[in-house]
Symmetry: C2
Subunit: 317 residues, 2 copies
């Protein structure tokens, strides 16, 4: 029996995406369902089952040897459970056991969504060839993951690289997570927009108050919009520099909606990094925009499953 493919699941608060992926990271088949995020846990699992059902109807399914899952967090890879903030019906939900059962006992690898994005950028994107990298998603929230010593570093529970919830302002505003001055509390899209509005920025005739609208205003020279992105850039720089100082990364890759703002974000970010990344071993740290598109979560989940199945020490675990 050929088992040269893996099934990948990308589970978020809006949609559940699935794909069959080969060892080159090509997506050969795919399925998707909306996430019934406000329903009970079994209903949410029903959507996962529907995606798996659609995939297993493919003639390629018999070549699938493992399943990789990238899920909104927190996850607990050691317990095989997930507790996505935006899916209240799933708390310590035994997703790994359910997916294993639904696939006839295939090995299942679970990682957080930030870790999955990182696996994808390291395999095929902006972190390719970098043995020590931080990859981030800056959008509604701020997530991330780490590559250390040439390998994905999910940590024991699959949540490592959670840069959105480290404090860079210990007396700062309280984040919904409970901590003060989190990177996310300063640098996420909604916080960029909120800060611009609080300081007097007003949207155009279309009423668009998104971070993308603030970015457009900043590009047009609006000083309040510029200042809000500069503040976000400083928080990101402090967090990236902290990560580099702690684990010696040489590149930080930034994706997500805010990451697409371009030089409005990256120019002040590079300036701020010279202030916060000062020790000799972090001064060469580079920042780069993400290269993977919306399939990053699927490709990364596939990468994690393939990496696990290729490591003889843990094969089949």
């Amino acid at each position: 029996m050929h088992t040269d493919l893996v099934a990948a699941l990308d589970i978020g608060g809006t949609k559940i995406a699935g794909a069959l992926v080969d060892r080159q990271g090509r997506i050969l088949d795919r399925a998707q369902r909306p996430t019934p995020a406000q329903e009970d846990g079994d209903t949410v699992m029903g959507a996962v089952d529907a995606v798996l059902g659609a995939l297993s109807a493919s003639p390629l399914w018999q070549r699938v040897g493992a399943v990789g899952i990238g899920s909104a967090g927190p996850v607990d890879a050691s317990a095989g459970t997930v507790s996505p903030v935006n899916v209240p019906g799933w708390r310590d939900y035994p997703l790994v056991a359910r997916v294993r059962a639904a696939t006839g006992g295939l090995p299942v690898e679970l990682i957080g969504d930030g870790v999955a994005i990182t696996a994808a950028e390291h395999w095929q994107g902006a972190a390719r060839g970098h043995d020590n990298a931080l990859c981030m998603v800056v959008s509604t929230g701020v997530g991330g993951g780490l590559v250390l010593g040439g390998r994905l570093h999910p940590g024991p529970t699959g949540n490592a690289g959670h840069i959105g919830h480290i404090s860079v302002d210990l007396d700062g505003d309280r984040c919904p997570c409970g901590t003060r001055g989190c990177v996310e509390r300063i640098a996420s899209g909604p916080n960029i927009a909120r800060r611009a509005l609080d300081n007097g920025w007003r949207p155009g005739p279309d009423g668009d108050t998104s971070a993308a609208a603030v970015a457009a205003a900043a590009r047009a020279g609006d000083p309040v919009a510029v200042a809000s992105f500069e503040r976000a850039a400083r928080a990101l720089a402090a967090g990236i520099a902290a990560t580099a100082t702690l684990v010696e990364i040489d590149i930080a890759v930034i994706g997500g909606g805010v990451g697409k703002a371009g030089e409005v974000l990256f120019a002040p970010l590079r300036r701020a990094l010279t202030e916060y990344a000062t020790l000799s071993f972090v001064r060469r740290l580079a920042v780069a925009p993400a290269q993977m598109g919306t399939d990053a979560g699927l490709v990364g989940a596939a990468a994690a499953a393939l990496a696990r199945s290729e490591d003889p020490a843990v094969a089949g675990v």
Copy 2:
């Protein structure tokens, strides 16, 4: 020929210590010289040569198979060079090549001093049995190192775990390293003492204005002294929580002079951790005082040399 021993060097701004260490971490012989820290580079190297000369006079020397060096940083393990802040004569100084030459070509492993302390605490101290740990020295400065996945994580240049110079207060006071609001700028002994004095604390008749004197005053109930330790504890908590959130450690070990302050530090530190370490996967994080004494640097340098020589993939590198 037996090569069951390693030679260890602990190089700081005050002294250069050396030892012959067996595979159980026992120190069988030792030598020490003051560091001529303000002299030129070759004079400093002369002190290292003197320590190695004294060790090599031991009948045990013929059993030495490798040398481990823990040095004040920054170091560059990939280049084999050191640039200790307090030893200006050494800038990108080729210490590894010099020690290799002085020992007839023995393999030499170089790590930062914070990483060395970590290796020792993980081998024989408070981090023993923990696969993911941060070990810190809080004294004149704040240093540290990481154990990830059961192994020391020195990083490519040997400086990983440099928690003293991550920013937890992005608008804070500037640290001599250039960054604002570093953990060290808030939590080191001199900064604890400075803050207490700035806020009106006055020393006793002996005129002692050290952090140890502030700790004694805090134990006696002086509110300004208590507040200065609480502020240090908050900065340490924010830094430790950031580390746990980024790489999933389950214990933080704190040594050094400030670490010896006991509950004056640890009680507010544990309270502050409940504020800054809020995500599910970091909530069980423990803090503990260091267990290794003044030989930690030597034992850790020996551990690094032994670990390297036992890893067949990198033996002799």
